[in-house]
Amino acid sequence: MPSITREEVAHLARLARIELSDDELDHLAPQLDQIIGLVAQVSDVAAEDIPPTSHALPLTNVMREDVNVPCLTPEQALSGAPAAEEQRFRVPRILTEEA
């Protein structure tokens, strides 16, 4: 019994916005199953009363003074854009016909 099925992997790919091919799904599903088998070992550790660590060192939030500092020009910000128009990022349509 695999810990993750091919269908579940296909679902993850949709959530992660990756258009996997059938061949990739065939290849990835058993590998992910193996890896999940490995990482599931964390559940062998009894840790009910242990606090989680999200970060290596204790942190407090830092605020900076609210002053203007130099930043990228519009030309610099757009310099790596796949498409730009009128000093803006041009993106594909975000709504479908029916919407």
Partner: protein
């Protein structure tokens, strides 16, 4: 004059300050060396000939004008392609960023430039630093200069190969689970992961933000310490940067006095799965440290065995979230923008075309680990294990000053050996991962060659948070003791590469 590419950074700096040579000459010598051997090694993804020579000429002019210059001014360096450099192509080893030229310098690059260090170009790496061999690079595998049929380690294999092929005396790496230390071990060089927050992540293309740490690579301990000092220190642009003085790494590298230093050998990092030649060299090095006056004891860190599974939950979770920014909208590749496809479909097609297999594996693993119903069992539990690993370190440091282990269970393996076996590949980082999870400083230092295959072995030193100096202290002690035996650093035993013109 003897070959400039064989000199250490310290020697090159002396030659420049005495006026015997210039940064332009030194830089040109390294560019020529890159031209001669990079066809076989493939350490570089981009060589910035013009930019490097211009930087070198600038340092020479400032020196001639009598300006005060830093200790590494005019010395060339190879930069891992995961750090942004204004106007220079930066890919992180991924097709999705092919041709991208960042409009700003990372903090590390800013500090390198301020120190007058000459950046030769960008080095190859596993895509988004996910890997232990550079085989996950979208631009081909880097070859280990000790044996071109073997991998140079990863993810920073380009940086370790560049310094061990004498293409640069210094390099920058980044370490999330061992990506500086494992390549250093595999190439007979020095690599240190500073304390997390000791070096800035600003301008570092993020893999796992709670783990990523830039750091130095070099052929000697002192060179690495000087580079460490040049890039380290508080940066207001990184919210997790530590606002404290940089540990005295250069003094430690100059001293190398381990008299009375308490060293703990981690019981759990050895035995089954460890190559005999690696263990033999490791035990010799421990004995050597005892002879040099260190007090060695065995220490148990019982939760280290869970570091690998915890890491492969925490890292993919953070990575899947960090890599969401590659959405085909603001930078990088865009596929399928035909006027019909909507933004989401374009995103799916772009990420399918732009990401390699390992990146897809880890994004999906992270997506799974963070999804509702699994979060507590996977990510939540991994974070608890992270606490237990940090406690193992804290307990150990009550008894000893530093912990030691082999840097890697095996020496560098053959290209292709583990490429389709993710778990075998992940096990490369067994010894290095605990220090990333706990955030402490750690480094790998060369201690000889394994009998089975004649490949380099690394000695791993783990020091407490903000005691990076202790790594260099032990590294320097070993380096000077072995130099007496070998007549130089381990690199002097490396085979000569065939030179093409």
């Amino acid at each position: 004059m003897s070959d400039l590419t064989r000199k250490t950074a310290v020697e090159l700096a002396e030659l420049m300050s005495s006026g015997e040579t210039s940064s332009v000459e030194i830089t040109q010598a390294h560019l020529d060396r890159i031209g001669a051997v990079d066809g076989a090694v493939h350490a570089f993804l981009h060589v910035d000939t013009e930019g490097a020579l211009a930087q070198a000429a600038d340092v020479d002019a400032r020196r001639a004008a009598g300006d005060e210059l830093g200790p590494l001014a005019g010395v060339p360096l190879a930069l891992k392609d995961v750090l942004t450099q204004d106007g220079v192509p930066t890919t992180a080893g991924s097709k999705i960023l092919e041709g991208w030229k960042p409009p700003y310098d990372s903090t590390v690059v800013k500090r390198l430039k301020a120190a007058g260090i000459v950046i030769l170009g960008k080095t190859n790496m596993d895509e988004f630093a996910m890997g232990s061999s550079t085989e996950n690079s979208a631009y081909g595998t880097t070859h280990n200069p000790w044996d071109l049929n073997r991998i140079p380690g990863g993810s920073g294999g380009g940086s370790s190969a560049a310094i061990s092929a004498y293409q640069a005396p210094l390099a920058i790496g980044t370490d999330t689970g061992g990506s500086i230390r494992q390549p250093a071990a595999f190439t007979g060089t020095v690599g240190v992961k500073p304390t997390y927050g000791g070096t800035s992540r600003y301008g570092l293309i993020a893999l796992a933000s709670s783990l990523d740490t830039p750091g130095p690579c070099a052929r000697t301990t002192l060179d690495a310490a000087l580079l460490h000092e040049a890039i380290a220190g508080y940066d207001p642009m990184d919210s997790t940067s530590i606002n404290q003085p940089v540990p005295a790494v250069v003094d430690a590298a100059r001293s190398g006095d381990v008299t009375g230093l308490r060293i703990g050998v981690v019981k759990e990092l050895g035995g089954e799965g460890y190559q005999p030649g690696v263990e033999a060299r490791f035990h010799e090095a421990v004995e050597l440290l005892t002879k040099l006056g260190a007090e060695v004891v065995e220490v148990s860190c019982p939760h280290f065995q869970y570091a690998l599974p915890a890491y492969y939950l925490i890292l993919p979770s953070e990575a899947s979230s960090n890599l969401a920014k590659f959405d085909a909208m603001r930078f990088g590749l865009r596929v399928g923008d035909d006027g019909e496809n909507d933004a989401e479909q374009v995103m799916r097609l772009t990420r399918e075309a732009g990401f390699g297999a390992e990146v897809k594996r880890r994004i999906m693993l992270g997506t799974h680990a963070l999804s509702s119903g699994y979060y507590d069992a996977y990510y939540g539990q991994a974070q608890k294990v992270r606490t237990l690993i940090a406690r193992d370190f804290t307990n150990a440091y009550e008894q000893v000053d530093v912990l030691v282990s082999p840097a890697t269970p095996t020496t560098a393996f053959a290209i292709g050996d583990r490429v389709d076996d993710p778990i075998a590949m992940y096990k490369n980082d067994l010894c290095t991962i605990p220090s990333n999870l706990a955030g402490n400083a750690a480094g790998s230092f060369p201690i000889g060659l394994a009998d089975e295959d004649g490949m380099p072995v690394g000695f791993h030193v783990m020091a407490p948070v903000m005691r990076d100096d202790l790594c260099y202290l032990v590294g320097a002690a070993l380096e000077s003791a072995y130099a007496d035996q070998w007549g130089g650093v381990l690199m002097s035993k490396a085979p000569e590469l065939e030179v093409t013109r």
